[in-house]
């Protein structure tokens, strides 16, 4: 296929995604088959490496196979050893994210409605949003010590900004014409907020929540790497020190699955709340 041919194919695909039914059954499944196939192929190749190449003893220390990882994962859940560290990680995650929502939502609304405050807060928000929150970790550890609260704070400052900024954008971007429409029917400030500003900002807020969850998971991981004595992240660091590569990957898979699961749930909520929108917007 020539490269322009591929672009045409992509355009055709775009049309297909837009709802035009496809006549060819292979075309309909092509995308998912290729996607699943490439992942399967990768796993298979990885699994076969030790059979094809001789691995030096030094490298062997760092080597694992998908089947080993799967076995380790199975053992973790079968013996139940995973639940205690997972619970520790989950509580840090939930507290931090909850705090970020409780603080981020009202603050976002306030900043969206009050220009002066917004102008004054802007340099701080820009600075904190651009800086990797990780840089504060040593300071947070110094202030809160090893353990739960350091983790909560790291998760909190990670998740706060996407939620705050999205809420603020949603509130600020309320359509001026719609505000006029509602005002022309005699609506006061409160009715404008209820009828226009709130529905307009809801999809933004949920999108912020989705980003916030990703950041929160990241926060749990790094906080546990450096500032915790228990949790899934601690398990992973200890495993890397002992060259238990399969355990590291098992931990990564658990974190990734939880992250995907939660963002998936929020995505569902997002789609439900956005039924009135012409199409889903990419982020």
């Amino acid at each position: 296929m020539s490269e322009t041919g591929a672009i045409k194919a992509n355009i055709a695909i775009a049309a297909e995604e837009a709802g035009a039914p496809s006549t060819n059954p292979w075309r309909r499944w092509e995308a998912s088959m290729l996607g699943a196939g490439s992942i399967a192929l990768l796993l298979l190749a990885w699994e076969l490496v030790p059979y094809v190449f001789t691995i030096s003893p030094g490298t062997k220390l760092f080597f694992t196979t998908p089947s080993q990882i799967a076995g380790t994962l199975w053992k973790m859940f079968a013996t139940g050893t995973i639940w205690a560290p997972l619970g520790v990680s989950a509580s840090g995650f939930a507290l931090g994210l909850g705090l970020a929502i409780v603080v981020g939502l009202p603050l976002g609304v306030l900043l969206g409605r009050w220009r002066t405050l917004n102008a004054m807060a802007d340099p701080f928000i820009t600075a904190f949003n651009a800086t990797p929150r990780l840089v504060f970790l040593p300071l947070v550890l110094l202030w809160f010590g090893l353990g739960l609260w350091s983790k909560v704070i790291i998760v909190f400052i990670g998740a706060l900004f996407p939620i705050l900024i999205n809420t603020y954008e949603g509130v600020r971007n309320a359509d001026k014409t719609l505000i006029n429409v509602v005002r022309s029917f005699g609506a006061g400030e409160w009715a404008v907020a209820r009828l226009v500003v709130l529905p307009n900002s809801l999809p933004y807020v949920v999108a912020g929540l989705r980003l916030g969850i990703g950041r929160a998971v990241l926060g749990v991981v790094v906080a546990e790497f450096f500032g915790s004595e228990e949790g899934l992240g601690v398990l992973m660091v200890q495993a890397s020190g002992r060259y238990q590569v399969d355990v590291v990957f098992a931990g990564l898979i658990i974190f990734a699955t939880l992250s995907l699961l939660m963002t998936g749930l929020v995505k569902l909520l997002e789609d439900r709340l956005s039924r009135w929108r012409p199409q889903r917007t990419a982020d």
Binding site: V181, S184, F185, G186, N200
Partner: protein, 256 residues
């Protein structure tokens, strides 16, 4: 004797941030009779939409008098309703809930709201689309919703801000015919802002041509075509004479 709606010497200047002030209206006078269909045509940015927003009660003039039935306009009221150029439908509300918006804000009970909206949805020909969202409708259908919403609160005056400008030519023609039907049945006072001279002549009792910004009335034309009007009227000599006359009045105000 005071007119139904009377505006005297209205002045309004916008002061947008980071830019110089803009004089939108200067010494603007207007008289509108009860039940009259008055159109305003004028060059882009001449302040016609600004005046509609003043009459609607969303903008307050810097000086001047604007009264309706002898009472000063002090803010939005349910005796006036606007049909917006870009429809202004709340995208997260269905057709029915959009039509009921004004009633809801007036505190009308849900059952009564349903009855009124059902009648208006029928009137604008949208039966079967009650639970559709705006993005699922064509432009013409959206503006029918806009019209139904404005009529739902049973206002005395209907303000229309280039309501058909975003529609294609055929849809616009059809909407004009329907608007005349509705107007004749409901006997509202209509203030209609448009760019299109044809549209203004076809619909109106009188046409006000405005000067360029800062806007005021340049000349008022009475449209002496008989009613009910039909499409064929647009090719009569009288129609074309009037169109030419208005065009000559307007063209000096337009700068390209």
């Amino acid at each position: 004797m005071q007119a139904y709606i009377e505006g005297r010497n209205i002045n309004l200047t916008f002061r947008p941030p980071n830019r110089g002030p803009v004089r939108a209206l200067r010494g603007f006078d207007i008289d509108i009779g009860e039940g009259e269909f008055l159109s305003i045509v004028g060059p882009s940015g001449c302040g016609k939409s600004t005046f509609l927003n003043v009459l609607l009660g969303l903008l307050r003039p810097d000086s001047g008098e604007l009264t309706m039935r002898g009472r000063r306009i002090a803010g939005p009221g349910s005796d006036r309703a606007m049909v917006f150029q870009e429809f202004g439908l709340l995208p997260w509300r269905t057709v029915q809930n959009n039509v009921e918006l004004g009633l809801e804000l007036k505190g009308v009970a849900a059952v009564a709201r349903r009855k009124i909206s059902a009648r208006l949805i029928e009137m604008v020909g949208l039966i079967g689309f009650e639970t559709h969202y705006p993005h699922e409708l064509s432009g013409g259908m959206k503006q029918r919703v806009g019209l139904a919403r404005a009529l739902a609160t049973d206002p005395d005056v209907l303000l229309m801000d280039e309501p058909f400008a975003a529609l294609d030519a055929q849809t616009r023609d059809l909407m004009q015919v329907e608007l005349l039907h509705i107007w004749q049945a409901a006997r509202k006072t209509v203030l209609f802002v448009t760019h299109q001279i044809d549209e203004a002549i076809y619909l109106s009792d009188r046409i006000m041509v405005m000067t360029k910004r800062p806007g005021r009335a340049k000349k008022i034309f009475a449209v002496d075509l008989p009613r009910p009007r039909d499409y064929e009227m647009r090719v009569t000599p009288r129609f074309n004479d009037l169109k030419l006359e208005i065009w000559h009045t307007l063209k000096d105000e337009i700068s390209v």
